[in-house]
């Protein structure tokens, strides 16, 4: 590490830090504004609200039927996580362990849904789902959310499986392990940290996935984020504190899983897929 001591580089360093701090302050300000407003009796143009109350949470809970919405959200999210885990991890295992003709093409197919904007494939897929009668239903929402989730699991898991030495599996075979006990006693324990990381990330992403869910969600299959969108969209109808109370409920739901996920993954992994471990110099 090299530190220049000139006045110019000191100024530059200070300016860069100031920018970073400014950004973080504004970001925390946005989140704090939502929380403050949800606890305010009246808040118009002053630094802090006139008084504090928790009644908006009770009114938001009944107004937006949050019990039902949360129940549906968790059912959808856990089902998407489970299905994309089952489908994605098996596919990742095959792609990591075998070299077969057309493998590059298969990997490209798994990469594409993550590079195309969700609405580009979401609109035709939603049209199809409406035509077969799944539009607006619980299963329609699950299906459309699988499209980005399966490739995500595959791409996170491939490097993770590659780093497990295949000779461990071969040794287990030599000692007479059948396919089931190989899976349950060798692969599963070794894969568990990676699986937890991938599945928790899918969980967090699915809770926050707005665009695709919005396209097919009906009145009984709205997830929390879609309900929040509709509430903000019709913001003249309800008290802004009530909407913000719902936003806090959404934040708590998401952050709970995020904190859990961060125990297993590095924050950079949430944006970039897991980097392969670099060889030691």
């Amino acid at each position: 590490m090299i530190r220049d001591q000139g006045i110019g580089s000191k100024l530059w360093r200070a300016a860069v830090w100031a920018l970073a701090i400014l950004f973080v302050l504004n970001l925390l300000g946005v989140i704090a504004a939502v929380v403050t407003n949800s606890l305010a009796t009246r808040w118009l143009g002053t630094l802090l609200p006139v008084g504090w109350t928790t009644r908006w949470y009770f009114s938001a809970w009944s107004e937006f039927q949050l019990t039902d919405v949360l129940l549906v959200t968790f059912q959808i999210v856990f089902l998407v996580t489970l299905l994309s885990g089952l489908i994605g991890i098996t596919a990742a295992y095959a792609l990591a362990r075998r070299d077969f003709p057309g493998k590059r093409f298969a990997v490209l197919l798994f990469l594409l849904p993550l590079l195309v904007p969700p609405l580009t494939y979401g609109i035709p897929l939603a049209t199809l789902l409406y035509q077969v009668g799944l539009g607006g239903s619980f299963w329609g929402v699950v299906i459309i959310n699988l499209v980005p989730s399966i490739p995500f699991v595959v791409l996170v898991m491939i490097p993770f499986i590659e780093q497990i030495d295949p000779r461990v599996e071969a040794a287990a075979r030599v000692f007479g392990a059948g396919t089931w006990s190989l899976f349950a006693r060798i692969l599963l324990p070794l894969l568990l940290p990676g699986m937890l990381a991938a599945l928790l990330l899918v969980l967090v992403r699915t809770i926050a996935m707005f665009e695709l869910t919005f396209l097919v969600a009906g009145p009984t299959s709205q997830t929390l984020v879609v309900s929040l969108y509709y509430a903000v969209f019709a913001s003249g109808v309800r008290a802004s504190q009530s909407i913000d109370a719902m936003a806090v409920v959404y934040m708590v739901t998401t952050l709970f899983w995020l904190v859990l996920a961060l125990r297993f993954v590095n924050p950079t992994q949430i944006v970039a897929r897991a980097k392969q471990s670099q060889p030691a110099h």
């Binding site: 590490m1 504004n26 075998r98 580009t120 035709p124 699988l146 707005f210 929040l228 961060l262 110099h281």
Partner: protein
């Protein structure tokens, strides 16, 4: 599983007697390979088929020739202006995000405890655009903390109008896009061997020259990928353009046009056509950026002898 590899040479004297199973296994096709099938089928059914369906749907309008939807899109200003509106939002935001991300990533790479900062920055990505839009409506509003702070410092005389226009959407794309660009850039910057910088400094390069002559060429491939991924996100802007922008005016982005054609006018053929145009425009920008990348240095960023 590996017995195919061992037995194949032994039987090679009589290759015609190899069973089909063994020959397939030698090329990497066996029971394990079949595990890829559920995933492939799901992607084919849920991504490739709808995509092809969308293309076919877009060229089979209810009335008129096969290109009717595209003709309509490019003849109505209300529709074709959405391309410019989207680019006018997405390109500047992506450039600003990258311009902020690079110097800050260079500072943060020297920090020992990055975890707190990276965790804070992951917040807006995980919370999503809807929540950020709701927060910004309050925070940037005429009576929000942002305007209060500026008035307090004395930078402005009256509150700025920052919501329900271009700048509201710009701010929301900055809040969700910058952390994304930053975390990607940070992972690329950390991948450059510090020994390279020390070598340049030993040879007498000052900070500016070390950046322009050493770091920047090594970073260009990573920055190109970061630009593309950040641009893809900004280009797909939808909820914040509705909630925080002026969806009938300057922030009527192309995803709003596609959504309203498909689900408000119930013209799924036109909706698919706009969705395809959206994909094509985005692909054109991504390819242009990746093409520019090809003009720069390609090679290892590690310090080891190859």
């Amino acid at each position: 599983m590996t017995d195919a590899a061992f037995s194949a040479p032994g039987r090679s004297s009589a290759p015609e007697r190899l069973s089909l199973k063994t020959r397939l296994a030698a090329r990497g096709l066996d029971g394990t390979t079949l595990l890829v099938l559920p995933g492939l089928l799901a992607i084919l059914a849920l991504f490739v088929y709808p995509f092809v369906y969308g293309i076919v749907d877009s060229v089979t309008p209810e009335t008129g020739a096969w290109y009717e939807n595209y003709r309509r899109f490019f003849s109505e200003p209300f529709l074709y202006n959405t391309i410019a509106a989207t680019l006018w939002l997405a390109l500047p935001v992506t450039l600003v995000n990258l311009a902020l991300a690079v110097p800050i990533a260079f500072r943060v790479r020297l920090m020992r405890r990055q975890r707190l900062l990276t965790t804070i920055l992951v917040l807006p990505i995980t919370l999503g655009t809807v929540l950020v839009a709701e927060g910004l409506l309050n925070f940037l509003g005429p009576r929000g903390w942002f305007n209060q702070a500026l008035l307090f410092i004395g930078l402005i005389d009256g509150p700025l109008r920052l919501t329900n226009n271009y700048w509201g959407v710009f701010a929301s794309l900055l809040i969700t896009g910058f952390p994304f660009a930053f975390l990607l850039t940070l992972s690329y910057v950390s991948g450059i061997d510090p020994a390279i910088e020390q070598a340049a400094a030993t040879l007498g390069a000052n900070a500016r020259r070390r950046f322009t002559r050493v770091f920047l060429p090594l970073l260009v491939p990573g920055l190109a990928v970061t630009f593309c991924l950040a641009f893809v996100q900004a280009f797909a802007v939808f909820p914040s353009a509705v909630l925080l922008g002026a969806p009938a005016g300057p922030t009527r982005v192309i995803s709003i046009a596609a959504y309203s054609a498909a689900f408000e006018e119930y013209n799924h053929s036109l909706g698919s056509a706009i969705a395809i145009i959206m994909g094509v425009v985005q692909l054109a920008v991504v390819l242009a950026v990746l093409g520019l990348r090809g003009l720069f240095y390609r090679g290892p960023a590690g310090g080891t002898k190859g």
